[in-house]
Symmetry: D2
Subunit: 353 residues, 4 copies
């Protein structure tokens, strides 16, 4: 038994899934040419092209911070701006990485409850200023699913890309949990990316069973010009690239990329379903991917912590539970049971008071 019982605090607390590990182990046989000129990297790139049914350009970098920041930097200059939601990871949790990689591009933030951008919000921000004293909007970035687990439908992406085209903006998708969105929507990856007008996708591997690694996929190949130089200069070219690319082969060829996501999503739904109609508990957002955000009275959250559960909390009594590829349904049930007991107990005390 592990010394680290599952805590559902984050999906990056999980380890490497079997399919990724097996591919890494296979890739470790003998020597291979460095910097991506190896067979595994070719295979992984081809696997992405098959998955997306497109002759896209594929790059492998170490993490999501770099993937998103490099992609955005390739789409704008320092005096341009990037439109995003107020909940966007690039705004709230990257320590200024987009500004750093782009040498100063400003993020224009649209207020958003659930993290989704809308065509109206984009249009409002894009048109709010047109003088040279303010950075010129050049890119829109959306997170699919959002940081709160909301999934953009294909139509929503299409509506956003339409306004982007109209306003001369490029469309970037932060897909740190892109697989989870595919699992939810039941669409092909192509349908909710390039066929819906997305120019560049950052497809997350780390949160879906890899040790390390994200891929950047340019559907408009012209935008990928010299992107390999950009990665190298920014410290994102792995010398033993096969260990970044082979796990993708493992995930994509086996279908684990989607199965992992389905499992994670199912665990979130399992928790949400088990908490329906409980007093003192409510969902902050609809559960559409692998996250559950709960409003819960403080004594309930305190009680959970006392019982050893670990989770992220937010001002106002919110708690985030995040499910990974390896989430144990029995542990989810155990969590649900603890929440239920605490909620009912807290309810009775309040009623009694």
């Amino acid at each position: 038994m592990s010394s680290h019982p599952q805590q559902f605090a984050s999906d990056n607390y999980a380890g490497i899934c079997p399919e990724a590990l097996a591919a890494m182990t296979l890739a470790n046989d003998g020597s291979a040419v460095a910097y991506g000129d190896d067979e595994w990297t070719t295979r992984a790139s081809d696997a992405f092209r098959r998955l997306f049914e497109a002759e896209c350009e594929v790059f492998f970098v170490f993490n999501g911070t770099a993937a998103n920041s490099l992609a955005l930097a390739s789409l704008c200059q320092s005096f341009h701006s990037v439109i995003c939601s107020s909940a966007a990871h690039v705004e709230t949790d990257e320590c200024g990485a987009p500004e750093f990689f782009s040498n100063g591009s400003k993020l224009l933030v649209a207020p958003s409850e659930g993290g989704k951008l809308t065509p109206d919000a984009i249009r409002t921000l894009a048109n709010s200023r047109s003088d040279i004293h303010f950075p010129k909007p050049r890119v829109v970035t959306i997170t699919q699913p959002t940081e709160t687990g909301q999934v953009y439908s294909r139509d929503e992406v299409l509506a956003i890309s339409a306004v982007c085209r109209e306003l001369g903006l490029k469309l970037h998708m932060d897909g740190a949990r892109f697989a989870q969105a595919c699992a939810t929507l039941g669409c092909t990856p192509a349908d909710i990316t390039w066929r819906a007008g997305v120019d560049v996708l950052c497809f997350g591997g780390t949160k879906n069973g890899m040790a390390v690694g994200e891929s950047i996929i340019f559907f408009d190949r012209a935008l990928a010009l010299d992107f390999d130089y950009r990665c190298k200069q920014a410290g994102q070219l792995a010398s033993k690239m096969r260990f970044l690319s082979a796990p993708w082969v493992g995930l994509l060829d086996s279908g684990a990329w989607l199965n992992n996501a389905r499992h994670a999503n199912a665990c979130a739904t399992r928790l949400a379903d088990a908490l329906e109609d409980l007093p003192g508990i409510s969902l902050m957002f609809p559960v559409q991917a692998n996250a559950v955000f709960l409003h819960a009275r403080p004594p309930i959250l305190d009680g959970l912590r006392t019982k050893g559960w670990r989770f992220y909390t937010f001002i106002g009594g919110g708690a985030r539970f995040m499910f990974a590829w390896d989430a144990d349904p029995a542990r989810v049930d155990s969590l649900a049971s603890d929440i239920r007991a605490l909620a009912l107990e807290e309810h009775q005390e309040r009623v009694a008071a």
Copy 2:
């Protein structure tokens, strides 16, 4: 048998060594807190502190490009300059990464045959300009061993750090193959770093048996202030950090870090010894680490290529052979034998002509 016969083109063509792989596998048991707040990262940091007999600050990043560039950026501002040898990797093979991470610091390059900097060269560059129209020297970086496999003795490092102190310069050591230098010198890591005046060391893992990862070690802890933020912003904070840190535990606790290096060095010496007194062949540099640089007549190099050997070549008939932790002595002998046969054949043809 591997489909990729060992080619000795680079030590980053090798895979993951058993000790590193075992640690990764162990670390993959269950979930762990992200971003370095896990046990493996604590253990790896402590292992470095024991190895260096110092309360140093330790950071784990993805690759050498980032390790060196971030370390240098933390030691200077954009209007400062970094003194290095003309052979320094940061100058010749990082696609401008030091300039990018520092937002414009200039590298001042001292001509060097074997890649070593000298106190005189440093002094000359540092004193060449003192006006504000030229970047102010602030850091010296040396590669240990150099890109040509030369090892700085402890006295050489001491002499360099003395001139650094005198001129108000910080001393950075690019130790992409630091273990190989330790193996050659038989010194403790402390003796050739902080006890010899080094402020910051980048200690390479990838070229010594890891899949991915380098560590940055600040002996002057004050210089590490907010360095964690710098890593995060620059896309060098791994979420599943345990997979970057655990391999270090495997390498350091087992002694493999040094054994791997000794083996690689021994293979280089083995090749060099086998080629002594061959006509048409000479060493470009003394063999002090895990590289052999040969001058060889073009027909000899052509012959090697025909036989399937892969190696880096240089203008003027140079060839580099680089040995990794997994270099097979039998393959080294086979290479030596091929070189010998080609050299003698070429010699006879020349004599006959």
Copy 3:
């Protein structure tokens, strides 16, 4: 008569004041050593040191964008953040210059009606995050007077600097119209800067009668280390520096710096006083410097435009009138008279309707 009738749209529509022009003309006599090693630059620096009763370090740059951005960049690293008001010029009108010069520092914006920061707002922002996924607060910048013409009292600056000291933050003052604040407060420049805890001041010249030029004044001299290199690298070192510094001698030695500001402020008050108790007209902010912000019904503003007046407008019916050193009181009266007539006319029409 000028072909450009005064329009009160901005105080940078004005030309060069006589004292500045006279000094430039004098400075144009013969040749002078370049890059600041001339007598005028020495005299100007000394004049600032006398004015501030302090051994401050003084630098002359071309404009306010650069002055503020360079000062902020010298106080923080790319992974740090700068706390400012939502109305701060550095946030709203510099096209991302602070982010560019600092290579990515993020501005943390406190909501503010009149543009003033408060100790509470600073504390809230500074304490909102303490993890490495968000830039670490390092500097506070306040605009004195604010972009809406509000003047921080000495006590307000003191209260802000106290919270800065407590939280380990540096305090920067954007003084694009610093002279106007001095004129309003009747304090010595020292009293509302270094004696109140300001670390660095950007003192505006352009908006107070100069052709071009701002000065950056470091009260904590240690913070100015190598700042001359920073200016040079950033394209802010004038070769014929005397033409940037001499006007300061003209302004400071003659007292014009303060007289210009008093005059500008008086014109603002003159307009405000003339509009008291007018129907359909109200001040958006108290008039404390050289700006008047009016709420006025759209027909009134339309009427003013029809009569040829030029001014900045804001969403919701706001209009900004800005008075320079050369504002003609007769023109101010004429403007007041036009507003009065339009307001009364509009009022009658509304009453009649």
Copy 4:
């Protein structure tokens, strides 16, 4: 009489020429719209378009550091490189400004005696590396005339632009003393710029009689896209723009731009002619613009300094004399006379020894 006797150390020691000053004074009449939307700026831009017989895009910035750095930054990304001569000002005297503005572009330096680049040197540098570990060449910059006063002929520029086109490189011309080159060649400005394949020209004003200011001229207008935002963000947008643009109207409309240059050139030739056949004195470079570089025995240079002459010196006994628009021929004769006397005296002593 001036308190600063002419010293010929640099052409930026000179003041403002009458035509530039007159235009500034005229421009100072009344108020004008800020940030370049004024009549003077329109007139200056149009004057440039007439001068160059082209619909070029024209921008006005504060100094040459910014002009060249911004122009280069607009032509390449951070992972690209700029090919220049080892004598290029951007390499030797801008404190890393090109690297700063471009966020890390590397300068690839071709060895050069007189500062001229050749097609061969460009080709060699451009082809020296083609892997992603080294910045990709993207721009060539030439200084016309070079820092040593050498003028590229029209054919030389054509040959360079031909190799640029062939290799996919843009061609930038640093014309800090462009007027002097025009004066020497007797060509139209168009003939040695866009008609010879130059994409962007930085045309110097400061060294030709202005107080402050350079213009950036894009002959390929597509390259100027959003360049106004770039200038603004980089602190190079003057609010009272008329004072940067009006002097250009003064210089261009009057022909002073060329007359000033001719005069400066003539003074250089006057000195050179006067020193022919002197013992112990030789020209380091042919005199083709407004600079004279002399080899002179140390006692001669010491003697000149004793007599109060100021000039730049170089390793190996070189001295630079630089002539501005206001150089006094009588002072030139006086300098020549002093050199002659010292040279003859030194010669006699040597002969006697």
